[in-house]
Symmetry: D3
Amino acid sequence: MFLPHQSWPDLADYVADESLAVVPLGSTEQHGPHLPEGTDYLIAEALARAATDRTGYLCTPPIPVGVSSHHRQFHGTMWVDPPVFRDYVESLSRNLTYHGIDRIVYVNAHGGNVQHLREVGRRLHEDETAFAIEWMWDESIPGLIEEVFETPGPHGGPKETAMIMHIAAELVREDRLEDARDGGAIFDYEAELVHGARIFYDAIENSPNGVFGDQTDATPEIGERLFEAATEQLVALLEWLDDQPFSDLVASPHVDPRST
Amino acid sequence: MFLPHQSWPDLADYVADESLAVVPLGSTEQHGPHLPEGTDYLIAEALARAATDRTGYLCTPPIPVGVSSHHRQFHGTMWVDPPVFRDYVESLSRNLTYHGIDRIVYVNAHGGNVQHLREVGRRLHEDETAFAIEWMWDESIPGLIEEVFETPGPHGGPKETAMIMHIAAELVREDRLEDARDGGAIFDYEAELVHGARIFYDAIENSPNGVFGDQTDATPEIGERLFEAATEQLVALLEWLDDQPFSDLVASPHVDPRST
Amino acid sequence: MFLPHQSWPDLADYVADESLAVVPLGSTEQHGPHLPEGTDYLIAEALARAATDRTGYLCTPPIPVGVSSHHRQFHGTMWVDPPVFRDYVESLSRNLTYHGIDRIVYVNAHGGNVQHLREVGRRLHEDETAFAIEWMWDESIPGLIEEVFETPGPHGGPKETAMIMHIAAELVREDRLEDARDGGAIFDYEAELVHGARIFYDAIENSPNGVFGDQTDATPEIGERLFEAATEQLVALLEWLDDQPFSDLVASPHVDPRST
Amino acid sequence: MFLPHQSWPDLADYVADESLAVVPLGSTEQHGPHLPEGTDYLIAEALARAATDRTGYLCTPPIPVGVSSHHRQFHGTMWVDPPVFRDYVESLSRNLTYHGIDRIVYVNAHGGNVQHLREVGRRLHEDETAFAIEWMWDESIPGLIEEVFETPGPHGGPKETAMIMHIAAELVREDRLEDARDGGAIFDYEAELVHGARIFYDAIENSPNGVFGDQTDATPEIGERLFEAATEQLVALLEWLDDQPFSDLVASPHVDPRST
Amino acid sequence: MFLPHQSWPDLADYVADESLAVVPLGSTEQHGPHLPEGTDYLIAEALARAATDRTGYLCTPPIPVGVSSHHRQFHGTMWVDPPVFRDYVESLSRNLTYHGIDRIVYVNAHGGNVQHLREVGRRLHEDETAFAIEWMWDESIPGLIEEVFETPGPHGGPKETAMIMHIAAELVREDRLEDARDGGAIFDYEAELVHGARIFYDAIENSPNGVFGDQTDATPEIGERLFEAATEQLVALLEWLDDQPFSDLVASPHVDPRST
Amino acid sequence: MFLPHQSWPDLADYVADESLAVVPLGSTEQHGPHLPEGTDYLIAEALARAATDRTGYLCTPPIPVGVSSHHRQFHGTMWVDPPVFRDYVESLSRNLTYHGIDRIVYVNAHGGNVQHLREVGRRLHEDETAFAIEWMWDESIPGLIEEVFETPGPHGGPKETAMIMHIAAELVREDRLEDARDGGAIFDYEAELVHGARIFYDAIENSPNGVFGDQTDATPEIGERLFEAATEQLVALLEWLDDQPFSDLVASPHVDPRST
C-alpha cells in the first residue's frame, strides 16, 4: 500500500490493525557515465513498492537525497549533511508512530546512508519509541551477487547497472558501459589502506569516473533475478518483523546485579 | 532536465554554463476522502518537471515530506518538525552551490511549507550563498482561480482536486466528491478568529474530514487550464530569474550614514 | 498586574487561582524618519498593560528585540536570528508554566514575529504544555483601520504613527510626517510579486526610507480610537481564554480508525 | 542616546562616527517581600540610561528576562535556560556589529547572568567580531558598599533596596522591610559549603523568603549615593573603552615558538 | 574502586547496593615553564583515586580536556568549546544513572571548568535525574593554603607546584622554578579591573609566561600536606553525600501560594 | 612526546617545525568477566605512546569514554551519545590546529567509535581545517591476527585479552578465561542477520556475558607480538602522513565541466 496514493479513509483498517511501515531511502548522486543519478532511490522505491504490493504493508514515499558528499566532485551529486539527514529521518519516523506504527524498515539502496540509519534506529530503540531497522538490498542476497558477478563493485558497478536495466531500462546509457568500465576502477579495499588506515574520503580518489567493477557484465535478465531475489528477502523480513511481539523488540533490561 | 534521470557527464554543459536549480517540495498528508495523501508533492513535481522540460533548467527530485503536523489527526499524515525541515532544505540547497548553482526556485505546493522555505531563502540570501525563492503555484494565478471556482478552499478543495484530475486522474476517488464537500467545510478565515487571534492549530478543528470547499466543481479540463497557466508562470519566473545578474540578487548594502 | 512591579507575595493569590499570562513582544527596528525604533514594543507593552490593568491578569515585561533582519539596512535596527527568537520565547513560556500558567497570549506588534510566535505556540500545544496564542493588535480591528485610513501601510504608516501619537507623543517627529510619506512608498503586495513569487527580502527594496502609506493622515485622536478599540478586543480575548476549560484547549485526538 | 526613542535618521552620525553600544540586562525574579520582581532590569536600565545620557553613547532597550531558575520556587520568577540566554545575547550582539559597533558593555544587575555574559563576550572576542564585556554595578563600587552597609546581601538586601528607593520609590513596600530581614537570612557563603563543595542550587535553600541581609539599613539617600557612584564608574568605563584602538582589544596572538 | 580497572562482574555488588560515582576532571593546558600541561587532570585523578581507594566508592577515568581557551596562546594547550564540554559531561553523567547512580561528585582541578560543571549539575538537578556537585580541591582547604603560601596564585603557582611535586615529582622542572616566578606575575584580581569590569579574556594578558605566584615556595612536603588534607575533605564529602536520602537532594517544591 | 607531561616551552620546537598530532581514543565499557572496563583506552594509549615515543610525534591524553551504549546492560559501561562524542572530538581537533597542527591520527581501539571518528575526519577534511584519519589497531595487522587466533572475536576475545596481558597483566582475571569463553559466544555476523537486516542493537543479544571468541588462546607472548606489529604499523603510518605535502591531503577539486 503506497501511502502517497491512498486517501486517508483508505488507511483506516491499516491504522486500526497494523503497526509496520516501510520507508525507502536512496540518494541522488553520480553513478558513472552510464547510470542515472537517481539510481539509489529508484532501486529503493522499486523494491519497497514491490514488497509492499505483495504483502499489503504501508510504504511511504522515497527520501531521495541522502549522505553523499563523497561523490560531490562529480556534476549534479546532491547531499545533505549527516546530522541533518539523521534528524530528518528521525523526525519522520517518530511522527509515524502517532498513527500506531511501532516498527519500521528502512529500505535502503545507498551505502553512505547505512550507518546513519542505524544510528537513527538506535535512538528510537533506546527510548522505546519504535523498532526501526536498516535493510540494504544487496546485503540480503550476497550469495547470488557473488554467483552472477566477478566484480560487483561497491558503487555504480554491474550490480546496480543490472537493477536499473530491469527497473528503468530507458535510463541506462547502454553505449557507455565499456567507458564506465574502462574509465573506472576495480575497487580493492585492502589495497587502499595505508598501514591499516583508510586515507581516502572521496570516491574520486579511487575511481576517475566515480564507479567500480565491470558494467558490461550486467544484463536485464540478471537484473530481474536480483530484483526478485531481493524482493523475496524483503517480503520475508517484513513478515518476520510483523510476527514479533513488540516486547521482543524492546531493548534488553540491565543485567540484574543480584543474580550474578 | 530532471537530475535523477541524468548521468553525471550529461550535466557537464549545465554545470559549465548555468546556475539555476528548481527544487519541487510538497507533503504527504491527508487531502480528504477523495484525494491521495501525496497530492502536494505530486503537483509540485508535475509543475517543476513541465517547466524544466520546456526550458531545459535543472530539476531535482521532489522532497515529499514537509511541515504537516496540523493534519496529523487524519490517518497517514507524515511530517517532520519545522526546524528539521528547514535544516534539510538548507543543507540540500547549500550543497547545490558546490556545482555553481547560485539561484534556486522552490516549487511548492503545500501552504504549510511556505514560511519555512522563505526562512531558508533568507538565510541563504543574508550570507550571500544563493538567491533562493519560494513559489507556490496557486499564488501565481489568483485571477484564474477566482474565475473558475467559487470556493477554491485552502486545502483539498476543487483547486487541488482539478489539478490531480489532470495530473493523475486514477488517484482521485470520483465517487467521493460529494462526501468530500458535505463532510468538510467552507473555510472562512475571518470567522475563525476570536477577537483577532487565531485560536486553532489543527485542520480538524475547522473541518471534520480535513478539507474545504466544493470539490464537485472540479473537472479535468479546469485542471488542465490551471496546470498550463501555472506552468507558464513558472517558466516565466525561471527565465526572469536566469536573466538577473547575480549582483542584482544580492542583499542591499547598509544605508550610507554619511549620505543622509 | 504588571509582574515586574509586584513582589512575590503579592502574586500568591494569582498563582493560587489563575492560569493566564500576557507576554508583550515587539521589536527595536527602523520605523521611518518620524517614528522611534522602539515603536513596536512600546505599542505592545501599552496595549498589554492597559488590558491587564483593566482585568487583573498578569503581564510580563515586554521582549523588546525580535525578528527584524529585513530592516537591517537602516541605522539602529536590532534583531535576533529566528531560531534564537523562537527558543527564547519558548523557554520563557515553558518556565512560566512552573507557576501554574497554562494559557498565554503573546501581545504582538511586529509582523515579523507572527509566524515565529505561532510556531512556538504550536510546540507548546503539541506537547500539551500550554495553550499559547499570538495576537496582533491591528488584526483585531481591521474594520476600524480600513475606516480611518486609506493607506494604513504594513510598516511605519499612519496606523503605527497614530498609535505612538497616543501612547508617547513626544517620540513622534511631527515635522517629518511629510518626509516620511514622500520618501517612502505605498505598498502594493501584488505588484511586488514576479509571476507569483515574492522576490524581495528586505524592506529597503520596497521603500527608500523604510516606511509605507501616508503618515500625514495620523492624529492622536485616531490613535486613541485605535488604542481603545484594540484594548477592548484584547480584554475580550483574555476573558474568553480564561473561560475555556483546559480540556477544550488541548489538541484533538487522532481520528478513531474504527469509527470511520 | 536611548535607541528605542530614536528614529533611524537620528542615528546617522552615531553610525558614521561611533562604535560603542551599551546593553542593559537584568532579570524578572523574586526579590523578597519588599522589592519588585523587575528590580534587576530596572536598576540596569536606570544606570545604563544615566551613563549614556551623560555621554551620548548608544543604549539599547533592556533585556528583562535572564538566568534565574534558582529563584523559581517563589511566585512569578521568570527565566530562560542558560543556553537560550547566551544565544539570544550573542545573536543580538553579533547583529549590532552590522551597524559598525565593535565594542559592547553589558550593563548587568543580576548575578546569575554574569558567567553567561562573559561566555558570550568570549565567543565574540575569540572570533574577533567585537569586544564585549560584562559590567556589574556593585562590583564597580565595592568600597562604598562596604562603607554604607554591614550586610549588603548578595540578593534582595539593603544594596538593591536602596537603589530601588532611589530609582522607583513607589515600587518598594516600605512596610515590609522588617519582614524582609526577619524572614530572610544573612548569607554566609563559607558556611554553606560542605567540605568545600557548594551543595545548594536554589535560593530557597538558604533563605526562607528569598532575600539576604538587613533591608532596614536602606535609605533613598544611600540609594542615590550608590547610583551616582556606579554611574560615574560606568561613564568612566565607557570613555576608557571608547579610547582604546580596536587593535588593542583583539586577542593576543599565539606565542611565537621561535622566539622562546 | 577505579572503574577502568574492574571487570563488569566485579561491579555487581556496587550496582546492587550503591549509588555514588566520582568523576575526575581537569585540563591539558599550559602550566608555566616548570609544570606539565596535564597538571590539572593529574591532580584530579590522584585525589579522586585516593579518596575512592580509601572509601570504596566508584571512580571513573579522568576527563583530561576541558575549557581552557584562555590559555591557548601558549604551546600545546588543548580545549573544547564550553557547550561541547557541558554536553559531554552531561551525557556521560546521565548515562551513569542507567546503573543506578543518583549522585555524582565532579572532582575538579581546573578553575575554568567550575561554572560549566555547576551548570551541568543544575540541569541534572532540575529534572531530578541525579544530584551532581562540583568539588574543587583547593576550595576545600582554604585555611591550609593561606597558612603555607603567601602567593598561592590562581594558576601554576606554588599550590599546584607542590601538588605535582608530591604526585609526580619527575614531571616538575625543578630548575625552572625561579624562571616561573620571575617570568610570571603576582595576580591581583582587583587591580585588573577597569571601573569594575573584567577586561581581560586570556591568561597571557596578565602573565607573560602564563603562571602566577612564587613557585619557589613549593616543596614536596607541603604538597603532601595539601594532598592529604584535600583527600580527607573529599572522603568526608563522599561519606556525607552517601548518607543523604535522595529525597533530601531533590529540588525544593514551589512555595505553596495558599500558605503565605 | 606525551603532551600532558610536557611544559609549554618544551613544545616550542614542535610547534615551530611539526604539524602532526596523535589522539588516542577508546572506551570504558564491559569487556567480559576477565578484562577491565578500560581495555580499549588502555590499548589505544599504550600504542599511541609507544609509537610517539619511538618517533617523537606529539601524543595527547587519551579520551576514555566513547560510543558504547550497546554494552550498557553490563555493569559499569560508560558512554556518551554519538552527537556529543563527535562534537567533543571535533572541537578538540579544531582547537589543536591553533598550534599549527594540520594532520591528526585518531589511534582508536573501540569499534563503536570508528564511524564517528570518520565522520569527524570528514568534517575537518571538507572544510580543509585538517586531515584527520582514524586508525584501528587490529585493522592494521589482519594477517597476523588471523595467523595467531582461530576466533579473535570482535569484542573481549583473545585478541584484546592478549593485548592487556602484555600491557597491564595485573588487570586480567586469568582465572576467568574459561568462564569468559564458556559464558560468551562465537560471533557469526552472517548468522545474526535476518533476511539481510541487522536486527540486534546490543551486545547482550549476541553474548550472555558480553564477549566473543576463545579467550584461553591468549598469551602475553602473543600480546607482545600483536603490540609490536601494530606499533610498527602505526609508526609507519605517522611517518607516511608526515611526509605528505598538505596540498596532497586536501580534497580533490570539482571535476572540470569543460574538460569532459
